[in-house]
């Protein structure tokens, strides 16, 4: 049994394409100025429809994480990510992700997104690692 395949929505195109070019692309509402994630065709903060994609620094803060010992189903038995995490990119942007090469994670630590090596659009949200910069 294989893992369920990700289903990318068309509105998210620039996000996934941006990752292949080592860029973190996030929408900003031109009316209320807040960032929007996950991608939508409108701003969920103020319901305006005037949005723009912008490149954001691929860094954030570790908001929470866990060490997961039991995968959610047999579909995930292979390479089960052991560090599910939530990263805060901005007050309005939280990403569900995983942690890699992070040693002892600490909530509040600086983290950065690990772009795919292969210039391909990833199928799933990339992981984050410790940001030593």
């Amino acid at each position: 049994m294989t893992r369920p395949e990700p289903l990318h929505r068309d509105v998210s195109g620039p996000f996934w394409e941006g990752l292949s070019r080592r860029k973190l692309m996030i929408q900003r509402c031109l009316t209320c100025r807040r960032l929007i994630f996950y991608p939508r065709p409108f701003c969920h903060h103020c319901w305006a429809a005037d949005l723009a994609w912008e490149e954001r620094p691929p860094t954030g803060t570790l908001y929470s994480f866990t060490i997961s010992h039991v995968p959610p189903s047999i579909d995930f038995r292979e390479g089960w990510p052991r560090f599910p995490a939530v990263v805060a990119i901005d007050d309005d942007v939280r990403m569900a992700t995983t942690l890699v090469d992070i040693g002892e994670p600490r909530i509040g630590m600086a983290v950065r997104l690990v772009f795919p090596d292969d210039q391909e659009q990833p199928l799933a949200m990339p992981p984050f690692t410790a940001d030593h910069a």
């Binding site: 996950y38 929470s64 866990t66 997961s68 039991v70 189903s73 909530i107 799933a124």
Partner: protein
Amino acid sequence: MPGNSKAVILGYAELPASPANAPPPFPTTLDMCAHLARETIADAGLDRDCIDGLITGSLLESRYFAPATLSEYLGLNLSFGDVVDLGGAGSAGMVWRAAAAIAAGMCRAVLCIAPGMLDRSPDNDWARFGASSPLPGSPQAEFEIPIGMLGQNVPYAMIANRYAAVHGYDAHALARLVAQQRLNANATPGAIFEHVPLSVEAVLASRMIADPLRKLEIVMPCVGGAAILVTDADLVPAAAHRPVRIAGSGEAMSVKSAHHAPDLLCSPVVAAAARAFAMAGSSPSAMHAVQIYDCYSITVLVTLENAGFCGAGEGKALLNSRDLTWRGDFPINTNGGQLGYGQTGLAGGMGHVVEGARQIMGRAGGRQIANCERVFVTGNGGIMSENVALVLEGW
């Protein structure tokens, strides 16, 4: 007078919890609902012809049209039918919806049924990997499912770790909560762990599932179900059990996936509880018991703080120092809660409602709290994403 004051809980029925791998007690969800309906109306002492409202949880046999499907099976004529889709908050959510329909003059006697049969169909994505939204167009399918951000264990563990980072973690306090609720379960006929004692040490030694949450701090899925009858106060028969007023209710939700919540430690319980206490003209200190949705130990801790029973970060001290048993000075989940009784699927939340009503009615037998007039009840859906709070009072 608060809008809910016309309505009372007049009767209830509850099945014992049975193991998930045992033969189900009924061949279909419809049959479980019928059993619960017949028991509830008999408990209320009214004729089944008075039932003109029906709220149900989802039916395994019928993806759509649940209220009419169940009404047909039960032979009812309704002026109000509904299905509540708030996860574990659904049962508590049914209570105020029934009261509101009565207050609006739509009906006078509402059967609220929470069946807890298990879905054994092979294509059930929820059962397979805990995904509520696996279909194309779903942000969950795009961003969460592929990385295994699924189910409940991981997100609730993230609430616990966030709590640890902000307030410090006390595994002993949470293990003590579980052990004290188990004492309550040991006094509850029908609880899955009625005959199984549990120590703090055993909780702390149980298998780590998602750090810091251990297996015995997590509910065990069971099969079961419960129902209540909510009626106009004018319908109370002379020989009734003591009716239970729905004195206050509150509900809140904003996001589905916990990581989109602005503050993982500030759940919708804050708003729901504040609204319920305000409507009831009451406060946490006036409660004689609390029946708190307890899918995980951490859920109870965060709920108690969010509902104002103690300040932020003070829940650990409360859980470590008070007597949480039915005999004690701060009774929590006097039937064992779902941790002690078993989580009967989406019906688990109705167990808290029924136990709150049972204590106020004076029908809790060997675990009866003396002079129980007011009970606070919560419902919780998703990852503390949908919350309902109720203040129940004796009439």
